[in-house]
């Protein structure tokens, strides 16, 4: 009994330690966001509780002066268009590749396959010139086009699902006189719902959190998305940790809510996305 009990205790201890490591930095930032600047200046330690647990003053400042409203708006717009486009493009590509035999099919497949190996960060120097030459630099179109155009993972996810839809469905529809577009629209697309959910979640979280692309392509302040707007807190609030903390909590909160409500789908989505 003893050896097993010791092992069990150690397992739980390690889990509790890991929980602390994860939650402590976040918890402290949450506490800091509730403190007044005076409290911080008087050397209130990082681990001490704020005087007033309901002091949301910093949140108001962060939200208004940090232009978080327009940041959330821009992010929402990019999310909507980029994800809509990704779903459409991914499902169409998967349908064309899986259901048709045509010349150069192998070449097309290889093009998508090789592109999956190229990490976006490596090509930005040259991508920048192309985006610039289209006049998309410093507009919301730059991130939208880039998110839509380079998502190979969602194509893989759609492909797996299209493959699992029996071809006999297509054939019977074809006998009823449906053409390829009707089949895609009426049979394939509706049956892809689980794949669409996966892509929306995985892509949504990636886009919401991305810093690199908006930072590089949308320098003007009006076009801030949540990550670049938060990044700009560094300047005006440099030493005001209470406001920076409030901003960080504001950005993390939506993620937390989505995560808590969609846990199961999120795990599955990332498993599918990463292992392809």
């Amino acid at each position: 009994m003893t050896r097993r009990a010791v092992a069990r205790t150690l397992v739980y201890l390690s889990l509790i330690a890991a929980t602390l490591v994860v939650l402590l930095p976040l918890g402290v930032v949450f506490l800091t966001s509730l403190k007044s600047s005076k409290e911080l200046a008087n050397g209130s330690g990082a681990l001490s509780l704020p005087d007033d647990l309901l002091n949301f003053h910093n949140y108001v400042t962060a939200f208004q002066d940090g232009r978080m409203l327009s940041a959330f708006g821009n992010t929402a717009l990019i999310l909507l268009v980029a994800i809509g486009g990704t779903v459409l493009i991914g499902s169409m590509t998967a349908y064309a590749i899986d259901r048709f035999t045509f010349r150069f099919k192998k070449t097309v497949v290889a093009l998508f396959l090789v592109a999956a190996l190229v990490p976006g960060v490596t090509t930005q120097v040259a991508t920048f010139q192309i985006v610039n030459s289209f006049g998309m630099f410093d507009s919301l179109w730059a991130p939208i086009a880039l998110y839509m155009g380079t998502d190979i993972v969602s194509i893989y996810i759609f492909l797996q699902f299209v493959r699992s839809i029996p071809i006999s469905l297509d054939e019977s529809a074809r006998l009823d006189g449906a053409n390829a577009f009707t089949i895609y629209r009426k049979i394939i697309f509706p049956l892809l719902k689980p794949a669409i959910a996966t892509v929306v979640i995985v892509k949504g979280i990636t886009v919401y959190n991305d810093f690199y692309i908006p930072f590089l392509y949308m320098p003007s302040e009006d076009l801030g998305v949540i990550s670049t707007s938060l990044f700009r807190f560094r300047g005006p609030y440099g030493a005001h940790w209470e406001i920076i903390s409030a901003g960080a909590v504001l950005v993390i909160l939506p993620t937390l809510i989505v995560f808590l409500s969609l846990q199961r789908f999120i795990y599955n989505g990332f498993m599918r996305g990463a292992t392809r």
């Binding site: 681990l47 190229v118 490596t122 090509t123 155009g149 590089l216 392809r276």
Partner: protein, 317 residues
Amino acid sequence: MTDTTEKAAVKAAAGAALAAPAPAPAPRRARVWRGVTPWLFLIAPLALLITFTYAPIANMIAYSFTDWDGVSPELRYTGAENYTEIFTREDLFRVFFVSGYYLAASAVQIVAALYFATILSFNVRFRNFFKGVLFFPYLINGVAIGFVFLYFFQDGGTLDSVLSLFGYHTDHAWLGTPVSANTSLAGVSIWRYMGLNFVLFLGAIQSIPGELYEAAELDGANRWHQFRYIIAPGIKPVLTLTVILSISGSLSVFEVPYIMTGGATGTETFVIQTLNLAFRFNKTGLASAAAVVLLLIILVVTWVQRRLVPDDKVDLT
């Protein structure tokens, strides 16, 4: 969401359908039409793919042999000069050593993820809570993480306060020297990415049929034996994939060091350096050469992985 996309799909399909020939077309036209159909679906994806992936790669390779500054219309062909510069100038070459910190962190991260995935795949109380806590950091915005940890490593910040709880008072500037700053940043990257590896391992372990454990237990195998002979071989493909992703990830670290230190005190990574060369010092040619080098390294690493674990899952046809 689905509603709007569906509408868009309908519109796209309807637009294409208008162009379709009248019903009961001549057999030959029908055949031509069948040949064109897949391309109608592929036009948009291929156009985007070529514009935003292949054209940049081609341009980048072309730029890498020039001294272009990214703005002026003039550019001079300089041969392999940029490449020799990358491998001979020590200040440019140094960023590879920074990747070493992140590589070491990846090793720690994989071991920790493997440990937690194994214990949480057995019956543990509050399993879903621990699962959620361990995975959640992966979903958090990178800028927010940067700020959280800037405060964590600050003088009198979270870390110092915790240490003083244990009676360990320190005035160590965690981000003050290259070694300690890089170690701290690599620690942040463990904190951030461990959850993803953990969830991948967990998924792989759970796909191992449960009867195997029962049979092993009847044969008197303990937990370690179960891990050694059932779990480890069962998740080998995911494990190799993770190792490869970690290597390419370690080489392309950008967000956390850029947000936290801006690349100061010797924490500049390959990507930060490339961006600085291109957009701050206007050395597009040199930056392109650096990017080509990074791309080649990552392609080689991936190729090695494909040789080691030839998995049929990635096969598209």
